[in-house]
Amino acid sequence: MNNTRALAGRISESAPPRSHLHRQRMIWAYIFVSIPIIGLLVFSLIPILFSGWVSLHEWNMLSPVGEMPWVGLENYIYLLTQDNVFRQALVNTFVFVIGGVASNVVLGLGLALLLNSKLRGQSLWRVLYFLPVVTAPLALGVIFAFIFNRNYGLINSILVGIGIPRQPFLSSPYQALFVIILMAIYQYVGYYIVIFVAGLQGIPQDYYDAASVDGANAWQRFWRITLPLLKPVMLFVVVTNTIGGLQVFDLVFSSTAGGPVNSTQTIVLHMYNTAFKFSRMGRASAMAFILFGIILVITIIQLRVLRDRTERS
């Protein structure tokens, strides 16, 4: 260590202009990175620590930070043992994520396979399927609330037309969550299609040719080549969209606002209400940390699965 420092010193003595230039470049590099580093510290890293601190207190955001009463783990205990709405929100969010992600993977992969099988007009189809992805979830919520309306919605008109009785959909505690899941499928399937198409195009054609020579049929080629080679893409899709789904807010806010009777209440929506309607910042922060923990666990599971996969191969 000392030796290298001495050496560096000697070099800088013997070649001052170069070292000067080097130092100047380094200073510029620090200036360049300092802008976003400071930003991420102020708006990301410090807030997460602060949020953890708040979750151990009772706070309405009006009293000074220094005077928040300490409550220890009380917020967490309350949420996990007494807050029925939170429990309901957890269940709803999980149903939403599992239903949405599973349907989207199946539909997305299925449509990607179709689009990838030399169909004409690929880019046109891709654009059409992608339109909902770039549409504000808030607007989609409004459109779906309109289409699934009990009295004048398009879907009920179709149902009545084919002899099925009118359904309450978003105004039914038993059906609303499924309509929300349909919305999520509608919004994101185009995104899955694009990722899966890219993944499919990354699989070398040689593999399929070789398998065909060996007499494998389309079904076998799918199960033995496509699916195993698509596994990393599949994992990426499942995990990023699970993480996204766990944070669902806009879609629900604009279509049901969590109702009827909390049947579409989600974690982030409940957190939003707890914090900004009822000014319980401590409890809302604890909620955020529980959700963050859930997301971390899911991510760790993903890394495990990925590692297992690479170890085996």
Binding site: P36, P47, L154, S285
Partner: protein, 286 residues
Amino acid sequence: MATVERSHGNNLGSMSLTAVKYAVVIFGALVMIAPFLWMMNASLMTSAEIVRQPPVLLSAEPQFQNYPLLLDVLPFPQLYLNSLIITGGTVLGVLFTSSVAGFAFAKYEFPGKNVLFYLILATMMIPFFITLIPVFYIIRQLSWINSFQGIIIPGIFSAYGIFLMRQFIMTIPDELMDAARIDGASEPLIYARIILPLIRPALATLGTFTFIGSWNSFLWPLLVINDRDMMTVPLGLNSLRLFAAEAVNLNLLMAGTVLSVLPTLLIFVFLQRYFIRGIALTGLKG
């Protein structure tokens, strides 16, 4: 003879298979655009026509005046302008902070580089909802409630953007920079004159993503903006949604929804190649 017949049968089979494939894809595409078409159609109806049962497929007379009527209720030009300022500021900010830091991480050696880079990557893991309350508190302490910077500034630091830019800038040969240095160019000049022009495609990709995300964002503006004159398009749509809770104003609600979704749809249709490429890129990198 037998083989000829069989291949004939296969052709028929593969042709009908292709027909089924097209049928599925076309049906799917219809399902995808039907809500948009239905919304546009309803925006040109009277409210009475919208709620009539059995449903009316087309208005007896297209109600184009719904749009001017809507503008009396909700000042869309103002909403567009507000959203444009916020989205424009956010896009420029993200492009600047991401490219400048990505440049430093890709092309310079400095002590602590790896630690700082991993720190930035780690912030990618932090979901928005966990920083919501603290950042709201910071914004309030700064008296940035009801201000555009209260929305823009927290949104211009993107770990994902820095990562994307670093990956892209790493592919630019050092020789270009060295040549400029010999000509006496300073480091900021190298960034502005050599790096920025070369990373235009990456900037376009990141810019399109940021534009759509920022334009559509709802929760954060909902917290920061209370002033009607400063509302963004999604906030306007939200207030219209509450205003049109009664069936009487459904036509206006649908017209407002059309005006809300149109900008991102147009941006996407024109810039889709950047968008699709960006998604394929991130999808496969994972």
